[in-house]
């Protein structure tokens, strides 16, 4: 049977982790394994790709692959497929690789399966449907190569200790309209992600406006490793963006400590934070439902309590 290829995304910093995961899986499928690495960093990545199971790496370091995302890689891959006729190509489900896979499918007319969680053979892959509640095995029909987009972290990358031969690839780009990258903007990530933070401080309607969220952020900074979230009421009011929202229709968090400031504790919110180890609720309404599920209930004005708490945390941190 034909070879199994892995579309390996590379940067000058090295190959992406998902490429190594896919190679690890590809080794088990009983076929020759090759990687395709296109763009700056391709040549340097050959050794590591080889060490994870690729016996051949089709490589090209041209910056055009980074400058014309999707298009350049898809056409180059298409030409490469014509020469070597692989049976299956695996892609990681990333923004760039999805772009490449979609364009490639339009060129080859072969089967493309998205959102796979496992690859069980050259013609069979697994996916989840109904919001992850049902697992389905899918037989891949149609002409080769079959294309499968696999969710990152579906497999654990393990080195095989092998080495790969490098095969240079010719860049193929048709004429006509192109889209190219004109600017790159890196979003500075501040603090841990809401879902991963050990301490979450969430604000609700009781904050009364967007400004007091700075007060919560100060407390988070003082604690260190803490993230700020919000109830739906605060998000709906437009005080903080939806990415802050904790609850039924927002994020689910399970921190060690959850501090709820000015949150009444409607069911919609509780669903998203009931898994917290310790819940501290600060609320001026002694009847607020959140106080019933809180380990520590502080009844009072959050505008006094939160700054005092921040002060105390800072004091203890320095002493």
């Amino acid at each position: 049977m034909g070879a199994v290829w892995v579309y390996a995304e590379v940067t000058p910093e090295g190959p992406q982790a998902a490429a190594l995961e896919l190679l690890t899986k590809a080794r088990t499928l009983g076929a020759d394994v090759a990687a395709v690495a296109l763009g700056p960093g391709a040549s340097e990545a050959v050794a590591e790709l080889g060490a994870h199971g690729a016996t051949t790496v089709y490589a090209n370091d041209e910056p055009v692959f980074a400058d014309q995302p999707g298009r350049a890689a898809a056409h180059t891959l298409h030409a490469l497929i014509g020469q070597h006729r692989p049976a299956l190509i695996l892609f990681a489900s990333t923004y760039d690789a999805r772009d490449v896979a979609g364009r490639l499918q339009a060129l080859t007319g072969s089967t493309l399966m998205a959102n796979a969680t496992d690859v069980e053979g050259p013609t069979r892959a697994r996916t989840e449907i109904f919001g992850g509640t049902k697992v389905v095995d899918v037989d891949l029909a149609g002409p080769e190569p079959r294309l499968v987009l696999v969710r990152p972290r579906s497999f654990v990358a393990e080195p095989s200790g092998g080495t790969a031969t490098t095969v240079p690839v010719e860049v193929v780009i048709p004429g006509g309209a192109t889209a190219s990258v004109i600017e790159r903007h890196a979003e500075a990530a501040s603090g841990p992600k809401l879902e991963e933070a050990n301490v979450v401080i969430a604000g609700g309607r009781g904050l009364g406006g967007p400004e007091p969220f700075a007060m919560l952020q100060e407390l988070a900074t003082a604690i260190g490793g803490a993230a700020v979230g919000a109830s739906r009421a605060a998000v709906d009011a437009g005080w903080v963006p939806y990415s802050f929202q904790i609850g039924q229709t927002g994020k689910t968090v399970k921190p060690e400590i959850y501090i709820a400031a000015g949150i009444s504790g409607a069911l919609q919110h509780v669903v998203g934070m009931k898994g917290a180890k310790r819940i501290v609720a600060i609320n001026k309404d002694a009847d607020a439902p959140i106080l019933r599920i809180a380990d520590i209930a502080v009844i009072g004005d959050l505008f006094q309590i939160v700054p005092a708490l921040t002060e105390e945390v800072r004091k203890r941190a320095t002493s």
């Binding site: 449907i129 109904f130 919001g131 509640t133 009421a233 039924q248 229709t249 069911l267 919609q268 669903v271």
Partner: protein, 658 residues
């Protein structure tokens, strides 16, 4: 000579009509059947009231009059088309029965004038009033159609006028308008020529209109009557089951509507019946709060997509059909719907927008697993071990009980007269629990024998079904029906309008034989039968918000209002009340999704309630309760939101625990 020309033109017109109509006819002929032929009496009655009587058109007075004038006019004037054709062949020929009678001459004159007045009203509405409901409709096409209609009756009146002038009209005094027009014409040769010109013009315009019809929105003159006949009987909240056969052959598997070939006959007929009047758009909560969904545009977009398909190629499978979502309508449009049914209720030709949207959702969810991600928590909760949308522990379903004497039915025990179906919101949501407790106290006060299922209760499946997850719904329905059978449940009282609708209307499809009542109905009935003695001790003003799934979908408008009266409260109605109530925004599983657009539906509705100046807004469904209470808090309003049962319990039994 004239006869030959007429026959040739008539034959050509008919051939062209058939040719132009046949692609749409073929689509309907080959489509999936809809079981809509039962209860012929009910359907026939609807033809009388809704088609002949124009009932739904008269939901708006002026547009109703406009349409009725034109519609009734054409019913009466139909024989004149035949008469005109006969007169072309031989001026002395007339129809039997009606020809040359005084009364028919009078009717023709009257109704032709009424049609002209109707056209005038239509232009007044479209050019002067310019209601927003026409946004997105084809205005030029409408103008063309109206002018054609005007020219049909215009040439008819002029033809009659010419006959009067020539003295060949049997009863000039019976046709005062044509008679007045005849004064403009002489008696000589020019008028004889004009008489021929008018009669020919009349027939030619009618036949040209016939050939124009099939691909225009005016095709409703042919499709509307059958569309009304095949409309859904019974409660609007009922959804027909989707047969899911995972083991059957792949060709038979159908998950909702994915491409044009999945549409049913009725759904296609819906598309070809739309006149773009926009009454649905005007009442749509999504459209009114700045979302992309308009029921009218949904139907138009589906129609335009389907009309572009070659039916023969589709039947032969030689054309690759594009998915309707996102090619005809976007994902957003499909998910914006609250399934409130306001559009369906307004639609004069009984288009079923909501069922079509649910069918599109079924395909997105079951075939593509594509839906707003935030709703996944609800689906997992409903499917998960605790089987409720919030994923709360099933054991806490009885937490609301507190000190209230409540019988929790144990496995193996037989149910008493009533099973009180608490519902997930009623069991877990802080606010809805007040309603549950109030109903429990009132049932005890009335001396009813009742019990709850406690931890054995599970979601009815309504939110999953409205999301399109038919498979999950059917699983829950079967499990619940088995629980009812095992406990010998015969009567159920439910506080949630959504549970009520599902249990009462949809569970019979899964073998349930139940008498299901909403708590407002039961309490009202108990009061009427003097089993529940009430004290009108409450004072103050209240406005009642009709829940869609209680009111519009199930026709219960009065019981909640009766209970408010029995509590001693003065009711002030909102402008949009009863059949025209405006949704709280939670139906159609929207409760579990984030909301876009310019405004939130619950805020919009709450503002309307607050605008009445009442102290309290009363609700009869936990979804409405949560949505309106959230809106009250967001608005910083002092207005209270409470279930009618809580208001009644406070008036009659005093505060809880007293």
């Amino acid at each position: 000579m004239s006869a030959v020309a007429l026959v040739a033109i008539l034959a050509t017109a008919v051939v062209v009509f058939v040719q132009r109509a046949s692609p749409r006819w073929a689509l309907i002929r080959d489509a999936r059947p809809t079981a809509r032929t039962d209860q012929a009496g009910v359907r026939a009655r609807r033809e009388l009231t809704q088609v002949l009587g124009q009932r739904k058109l008269f939901q708006k007075a002026l547009p109703g009059a406009m349409h009725a004038f034109i519609f009734w006019g054409f019913l009466v004037l139909f024989p004149t088309i035949v008469e005109a054709m006969l007169a072309i062949v031989n001026p002395d020929w007339t129809l039997p029965i009606v020809g040359d009678t005084t009364w028919f001459a009078f009717l023709v004159d009257l109704f032709a004038t009424m049609v002209a007045i109707g056209v005038g009203i239509a232009f007044y509405i479209r050019k002067v009033q310019r209601p927003d409901r026409f946004r997105g409709s084809h205005m030029d096409e409408a103008d063309r159609i109206l002018l054609t209609i005007l020219s049909i009756v215009g040439t008819l009146l002029l033809w009659n006028a010419a006959q009067i002038a020539l003295g060949t009209f049997a009863h000039p005094s019976a046709a005062p308008i044509a008679d007045a027009l005849s004064k403009l014409l002489g008696t000589g040769q020019p008028t004889e020529t004009l008489e021929r010109v008018f009669v020919w013009a009349h027939v030619l315009i009618v036949l040209a209109f016939l050939t124009y019809l099939p691909k225009s929105k005016h095709m409703h003159i042919i499709t509307a009557a059958p569309n009304v006949y095949f409309a859904k009987n019974g409660p609007g909240g009922y959804l027909a089951p989707e047969r899911i056969d995972l083991e059957g052959p792949e060709e038979d598997m159908r998950f909702g509507v994915g491409t044009a070939k999945d549409l049913s006959k009725k759904q296609l007929l819906d598309l070809f019946s739309c006149t773009e009047c926009g009454r649905c758009q005007e009442v749509c909560p999504a459209w009114n709060t700045g979302k992309p969904l308009s029921p009218k545009l949904l139907i138009m977009d589906l129609r335009d997509h389907v009309a572009g398909i070659d039916p023969a190629a589709m039947a032969a499978g030689t054309v690759e059909l594009q998915p309707l979502v996102p090619n005809a309508v976007t994902d957003e449009v499909v998910w914006d719907c609250v399934t409130c049914g306001a559009c369906v209720r307004e639609c004069p030709v009984d288009i079923e927008h909501v069922d079509a949207i649910v069918d599109l959702r079924r395909n997105l969810v079951m075939a593509e697993s594509r839906f707003p991600t935030e709703a996944g928590t609800m689906l997992r909760g409903v499917e998960g071990p605790n089987q409720n949308p919030w994923g709360q522990p099933a054991a806490t379903r009885t937490e609301w009980i507190g000190e209230i004497p409540v019988r929790v039915l144990q496995p193996g025990e037989q149910a008493p007269e009533y099973l009180f179906w608490v519902g997930c919101a009623g069991a877990f949501d802080e606010r809805a629990r007040q309603t549950t407790q109030s109903v429990a106290r009132l049932l005890n006060a009335a001396g009813i024998e009742w019990a709850v299922l406690g931890p054995r209760e599970r979601c009815t499946g309504d939110p999953a079904r409205r999301m399109g997850h038919e498979y999950l719904f059917q699983m829950l329905a079967e499990q619940n029906v088995a629980t009812f059978a095992e406990a010998g449940v015969q009567k159920i009282v439910a506080t949630c309008a959504h549970c009520f609708n599902t249990l009462a209307n949809e569970y019979p499809d899964y073998g349930a034989k139940l008498e299901v009542v909403h708590h407002t109905e039961l309490l009202s009935h108990l009061i009427a039968g003097k089993r529940l003695l009430t004290t009108p001790a409450a004072s103050g003003s209240v406005t009642y918000h009709d829940a869609c799934y209680l009111g519009r979908h199930n026709g219960n408008y009065d019981a909640p209002r009766d209970l408010l009266g029995a509590s001693g409260l003065t009711t002030t109605e909102m402008e949009r009340a009863r059949e025209r109530s405006f949704c709280c925004g939670a139906g159609g599983a929207r409760m579990w999704m984030e909301e876009g657009g310019d405004a939130r539906i619950n805020d919009t509705r709450f503002a309307e309630a607050a605008g009445t100046g009442a102290e309290t807004v009363a609700v009869a469904c936990p979804y409405c309760f949560v949505m309106l209470d959230d809106a009250a808090k967001a608005a910083g309003s002092e207005m209270r939101v409470a279930d009618v049962a809580t208001l009644l319990a406070e008036a009659t039994l005093g505060e809880p625990g007293t």
